[in-house]
């Protein structure tokens, strides 16, 4: 469960203050499929970074599973990114010298997952994105679509509750783009909260809930409470809190 209220983010550019976000209120129940659209400069990437705990709002409140995260320190934010959030980027962000397997292993290294467990999870993740045969390939030996599949497998390997996708099809042809969208929608049907940032209406329009941003404000919010909003709120709520407790201790 994501609850944003009055989120603002101001950047200082020279002696000018740029308001990338100016008072965003947004509540996303668990398991929702949400797209954030808007022209460039509308603040959608900034919003995604704040949702992903990569950036902190200048003001406002961000409660993730009931816990206020806007004021957490770096280490606590890292723990949230590690356990609760998976990222998929436009430019894939695979480490070029590492194989598909090793790229998928990365988040588990930081989380200290045991090697045996890692192997099992990598196998499962590769299977679920249909790349079991490409496990030992490096990114430069993979097609764009395959790279994004590896990135998705990496995002999912820690079994996060939220998947954040920033223009996931922006660097792909329409065919592989379509496959990627289907893949992450499949994950959403499995219960994960899916938030896609895009300026491509054919991608964003597929989401059950469609939020439009302009000038750092929400200008429209369609489909909230619709069929895509069905969710595993009951299932993931307590689990999420349990995760949070572990993070705090580690």
């Amino acid at each position: 469960m994501i609850a944003l209220s009055g989120i603002s983010r101001t950047f200082q550019v020279g002696d000018q203050a740029v308001h990338a976000l100016a008072g965003v209120d947004l509540t996303v129940p668990d398991g929702q499929y949400l797209s954030i659209m808007g022209p460039s400069g509308s603040g959608k990437s900034t919003l995604l970074n704040i949702l992903g705990c990569l950036d902190r709002p200048t003001s406002g409140s961000y409660a993730l599973d009931g816990r206020e995260v806007a004021r957490l320190d770096e280490t606590e934010l890292s723990a949230i990114r590690r356990h609760k959030i998976g990222f998929v980027f436009q430019f894939f962000h695979l480490v070029p010298r590492l194989t598909a397997t090793e790229n998928i292993e990365l988040p588990m290294l930081f989380a200290g997952v045991e090697p045996e467990e890692r192997k099992t999870r990598i196998g499962r993740a590769l299977q679920s994105v249909g790349l079991a045969a490409r496990a030992a390939h490096r990114p430069d030996q993979l097609s764009g679509g395959e790279r994004q599949r590896v990135a998705i497998a990496r995002a999912m390997v820690m079994e996060p509750r939220i998947l954040l996708a920033d223009e996931p099809t922006g660097n792909l042809d329409s065919h592989s783009g379509g496959e990627i969208v289907e893949l992450i929608e499949e994950l959403n049907r499995g219960g994960i909260t899916l938030i896609v940032v895009t300026h491509d209406p054919s991608v964003g329009g597929r989401a059950a809930r469609r939020v439009r941003l302009a000038d750092g404000k929400v200008v429209s919010d369609e489909g909230n409470g619709g069929p895509g909003a069905r969710g595993g709120g009951e299932r993931s709520g307590p689990e999420g809190r349990e995760d949070g407790g572990r993070d705090g201790a580690s």
Partner: protein, 400 residues
Amino acid sequence: MSAWDLFRYTLGALRGHRLRTWLSVTGVAIGVASVIMLTSLGEGARLYVTGEFSSLGSNLLIVIPGKTETVGATPLISTAPHDLTVDDAEALVRQVPEIRRTAPIAFGTASAQVGDRSREITVFGTTNDMMEIRGLAMGTGRFLPEGERDAPVCVLGAKVQRELFGNRNPLGQMVRLGDARFRVIGVTAPKGTSVGVDLDEVVNIPVDAALRLFNRTGLFRVIAEVGTHADIEGARKRAITVLAQRHGEEDVTILTQDAVLSTFRKILGILTAALAGIAAVSLSVAGVGIMNVMLVSVSERTREIGLLKALGGTNGQILRVFLVEAALISTGGGLLGLAVGVGAGQIAQQIFPDFPVQPPVWAVVAALGVSIAVGLLFGGIPARNAARLDPVEALMRKRA
């Protein structure tokens, strides 16, 4: 992040830019190797000098005619008002209980002749006790006869025997030294150089015969052997008193091995430290090299660092990734340098077998320790830069 994962990940990163890695590893290796090699030479010089002196026997007193305050160098020209005599040497054995035996030495050069072969040769005039004191072994025959100070006999060094007699048996043959003739009664076993004198190239004759040969009344010096090393200082004091009584004044200098040795040790110790200091400069240069490589590595991998943060890597974990990377470079360089330094020492040892080339333990430990410390120190700033990167900016950075 477990230590093994950390190691594997950073090793992968180092492999990613092989040439750069090897260059900085080489930088550290040169620094460490030069520390090892230079200190090996210094330590070798110390061991060499120490070895030379102890081959003389470590519980010896050397009595030199003439009063001097010098400890390091022995005065070669005697200006003593009284000669040092064989009687003095015998008195020392009688009157100083710590002294077990003494050997007088008269020293000079003479031309030695056998048949038509002749050469200039170093002649030691001494007594039978010399053999025990200097630890001489006989190759054949026997040493100078006991109690006879003027018999016309001689004992040849191994090399002298070869040069004057070739393969012939020298025993019983006559050798002409200056105007006198001496019968060969023995040949010493090869012993080599001791404190600048090649013992294989001398001829030993009875002391009184030598004094007459060189037309002298006083000895070159007297060597006294003390029972145990602990008694050296007491024996020295008592010997000075005994000789002062006999001569009516204190006109001899008595050196102990320790005094000479400790002076040499001090000088060579300072030399070694100075060499190590010079070599340490190259280690710190290597440190700057590591820093440079790490700064490049961090700026080149900004996007990767952003990604690692997005994947949940903490600042501490990212700091460690880059610190370990720097430490691997410096440790690798340290080990390589150690191998090269020791290897070069071994080769030098093959070329100069007499000179002990051996890196001192402290230098090995310090060179490795310092190289690792240099890596952590100079890798620290780039690693901290990496850990402090803002993940959003880092992820958006264009490909380098």
